[in-house]
Subunit: 262 residues, 2 copies
């Protein structure tokens, strides 16, 4: 394990850049997984990180020490930092003090859409995207397509909200949703508060693609027009609409319910 | 309409205090509703605000002008601020420039729990609380009980995420959940990933109370032990748990589905 104690160390400066600048992360095609849960999920589901960085006090905590030991066993480069230097890298308050540097995964665009999927049009909020990824993965959905203008899926906030779901999914970013929809071999369903049919009325025991949009503006009109069908979630109270991540959870788990009953 | 142009004006200073300090809002038992949507919802569902504050440029925008006109018609005190002074009050970026000052609603503890309700144990995230309130109101649930340690329901962030749902609900804060549960005349259901029964297996066509907990730690053990039943949401993917607001949405709308089918 390599120890770094100076803020002027070139590797530390590089880590600091990655930790604080989304532009630096994009340019380097690297991202950071901050905290025990994300690191464990990555080791279990994805493979070896490029680097493991720990704070001095993390070494005495069982969960972090186990991750470090695994990394050293797999010959992953491990860096030890004094707590003060570590905390300048981390956005996790009261965290245990361990993070991975990984190559940002990039899923290839599939030739045709044949499995249940999620299409996201200009989704803005990192917490919403993370929650949608977590719900999608829990519902057994494997593919997610994010339009240009959607929040970056591998940003620290989205990763934190995703709780490891990222590593169970193929996430295609900057996807041309119109083209994905044209090539879809399954129904594309868009939720709408004006739809005549509800998610409870339609057959969800076969694969479908779900289309959700911008928190304020919803799905763009041209994409909405291309959807196979618009479906609603019936309300019993005088509320216009649900939060998009809540709406997605209702749709995904109605699909799970119907699949389990089929 | 009264115009204020100086930062030193005592009323402006008071507004600034309310806008920037949660302690000041609690002490004064006032809160701010920022933006067209919340103001419209309040006028429609709750009544008259204590005060309406608008930016100079808001007066030329149709939605804000309509709200101002309604307030003047109802003899609500209206304050006009130069844009720069207004923006120092507002947390809404690119907002239209209108806000209400209201008396923070305080629902009384009901004698007995007899209607469908939501019980929240130390929920931390404002976005999650807002989303849960919005889903609960849409599902026709009327009562929400927040334990001490739950994020303040009338904070600007929770209000923004709630999108007006607050005004359709009775929200009891600092509620002793153990005592609420002891007096419940209906089943209290807690979600758990270890539960044998799923939300799809149980009868939700009658009123129930839903119990959700802290984002990291879940529901406290003593409260969990007091719940009538623990129920799970079945997963098809290797994900430990859903986001708490996603989980709540799935539960509430399974209840809606069963109610509509009953």
């Amino acid at each position: 394990m390599k120890e770094i104690s100076s803020r002027e160390n070139p590797l530390y400066k590089e880590l600091k850049q990655l930790a604080t600048s989304s532009q630096a992360r994009r340019k380097a095609q690297r991202t950071l997984l901050d905290g025990v849960h994300l690191c464990e999920a990555y080791l279990q589901l994805a493979g070896d990180p490029l680097m493991c960085v720990a704070s001095a006090s993390a070494c005495s905590q069982a969960e972090a020490a186990a991750i470090l030991a695994q990394c050293e066993g797999r010959r992953v480069s491990c860096i030890l930092l004094p707590d003060a230097l570590y905390h300048a890298l981390s956005q996790v308050e009261q965290g245990v003090g361990i993070l991975f540097v990984i190559a940002t995964p990039q899923a290839a665009m599939p030739a045709q859409l044949t499995r249940s999927a999620v299409l996201l049009d200009r989704l803005q909020d990192p917490g919403n995207l993370g929650s949608i990824l977590r719900s999608a993965a829990a519902a057994g959905i494997k593919q997610v397509f994010c339009s240009p203008g959607t929040v970056f899926a591998w940003s620290p906030k989205v990763l934190r909200a995703g709780m490891g779901a990222h590593f169970l999914l193929e996430i295609v970013e900057n996807a041309d949703l119109a083209s994905v929809m044209r090539g879809a071999a399954l129904p594309v369903l868009a939720t709408s508060s004006h739809a005549a049919q509800t998610v409870y009325d339609i057959d969800l025991s076969q694969p479908v693609a779900w289309l959700f949009g911008h928190e304020g503006q919803g799905v763009a009109q041209d994409l909405l027009a291309q959807a196979t069908q618009q479906v609603g979630i019936p309300h019993l109270g005088a509320v216009e609409s649900l939060n998009v991540a809540a709406s997605a959870a209702v749709c995904f788990f109605e699909q799970v319910r119907q699949t389990l009953r089929a």
